[in-house]
């Protein structure tokens, strides 16, 4: 009986001590921890292997686990014009970790640079425009789609326009781990020509190739984020 009382007392004391510690942590917790932000983004995709720029839009939310660490969960939809002969649609759904090595204060006027890196799932579809097939003389179109994964890393910065709203700009290089969607520009004889060839009857042929190198591109993202909740309050 004494043993049981002793154990019960020690458990109660431990719980009390843990409670005290938790209270202390809560009091010392930086204001940034637990913040939840919701935002919109515009993304420009540059320097893919065919060098066509694309424009995208999307959204993200951010959950901040510590003062110098933030997480971003995002969705992007990008469309790229391929030389006026076709288009590439890309959707990214993924997450990133943001590390603030210097200033990490959340207040109006703060400038907080960060290192960002993460992972995403990537859907891509490349379609040619309608064209007249030089062999069959019929109207044709071809498209290829694929899912892949990708990793991305880069640098960025937040600028707090108010205590609740920040404007973020980041540049990340994204490498795709998957097959490459390759496009060839053909002329009206069905012969391959340069991508910048402006032949009137040129058309696009799309195919999926096993990639020997990591296909990648640079993503420049401008986003607006608003703090809407604090999970620790």
């Amino acid at each position: 009986m004494k043993k049981v009382i002793l154990i019960a007392c020690s458990v109660l004391l431990s719980l009390f001590a843990i409670g005290q510690e938790a209270e202390k942590i809560k009091k010392d917790k930086p204001a940034e921890v637990g913040q939840f932000q919701l935002g919109m983004r515009s993304t420009v995709s540059l320097f893919d292997h065919q060098a066509y720029p694309g424009l995208g839009f999307g959204g993200q939310f951010r959950v901040r686990p510590s003062k110098h660490l933030n997480t971003e969960w995002y969705l992007d939809y990008i469309k790229t014009d391929i030389s006026g002969l076709g288009q590439r649609e890309t959707a990214h759904i993924g997450w990133s970790v943001m590390f603030y090595p210097f200033n990490a204060e959340v207040k109006k006027g703060s400038f907080t640079p960060y290192i960002i890196g993460g992972h995403c799932f990537d859907y891509a579809k490349v379609s040619s425009n309608m064209y007249v097939d030089p062999i069959t003389f019929s109207v044709a179109q071809n498209s290829v789609k694929r899912w892949s994964t990708a990793v991305q890393m880069g640098l960025g910065a937040n600028f707090y326009v108010s205590d609740k709203v920040d404007l973020s700009f980041s540049g990340q290089y994204m490498s795709h781990i998957g097959n490459e969607l390759h496009v060839n520009v053909l002329n009206h004889h069905g012969e391959e020509v340069a991508h910048d060839d402006n032949g009137q009857e040129n058309y696009l042929v799309v195919n999926e190739e096993v990639s020997k190198v990591l296909e990648g591109h640079l993503l420049l993202t401008l986003s607006i984020n608003m703090r809407i909740a604090d999970f620790t309050k």
Partner: protein, 205 residues
């Protein structure tokens, strides 16, 4: 475009005479409007007309979050390129501090368009048999600037100029939807703070 600029000048001149001691704009202000808007495509000669509506909610620190919609009505003086050219935006504005009822601002709004080419346009006479002329959703990027004048506790007069960039994609060559859009007219507002939702501005913060 010229007449809009003249009107903007008149509004600014009129408003600059109305000096007040205290800034009217504050957090909790909910401003909304529904008006006609006009667009000037930057890659071809035409004028687009839209039904436009937007909502703007003011936060602390001279910032507001906002969203807007442009419903395409018709194109005038051009080649009737689009049958549909609607767009939806969401973003934020920074409001420059003033000491009166004027409210100049600038902002950024990412967005999307729902657009569809007009198969009857002379521009597509060569490709009319090749395309299905389907509607598509396309990313947009926009920046805007404007001015509100809060005339009384119910109404405001405003002018907003928006530059948008994007392309309409389909199964024929992409068409630019780069455009300068101007909206002006009468807006409405009320004050919506925690536990307070009235036309009258709350007296205590």
């Amino acid at each position: 475009m010229k007449s809009a600029l003249i009107l903007l000048f008149c509004v600014v001149s009129f408003c600059s005479n109305a000096q007040f001691e205290k800034r009217y704009v504050d957090y909790g202000l909910l401003r909304f409007q529904g008006n006609l808007a006009f667009g000037a495509p930057l890659t071809r000669s035409a004028t687009n007309m839209y039904f436009a509506g937007d909502v703007d909610y003011y936060l602390k620190g001279n910032v507001s979050v906002n969203g807007g919609i442009f419903y395409f009505v018709n194109e005038y003086g051009g080649q009737d390129v689009f049958k549909q050219n609607h767009s939806l935006f969401a973003g934020f504005s920074y409001h420059f501090p003033t000491n009166n009822h004027l409210d100049p601002y600038v902002g950024i709004q990412p967005g999307v368009s729902l657009s569809r080419l007009n198969s009857e346009s002379l521009l597509f006479i060569d490709v009319v048999a090749m395309s299905s002329f389907e509607a598509s959703i396309n990313p947009l990027f926009s920046v805007h600037a404007g001015m509100n004048f809060f005339a009384n506790k119910y109404f405001n007069v405003f002018v907003n100029v928006k530059y948008q960039r994007g392309k309409h994609f389909s199964d024929i060559p992409a068409q630019s939807i780069e455009e300068l859009k101007i909206t002006l007219g009468l807006g409405y507002m009320l004050w919506a703070r925690k536990g307070y939702c009235k036309f009258r501005k709350p007296e205590v913060d």
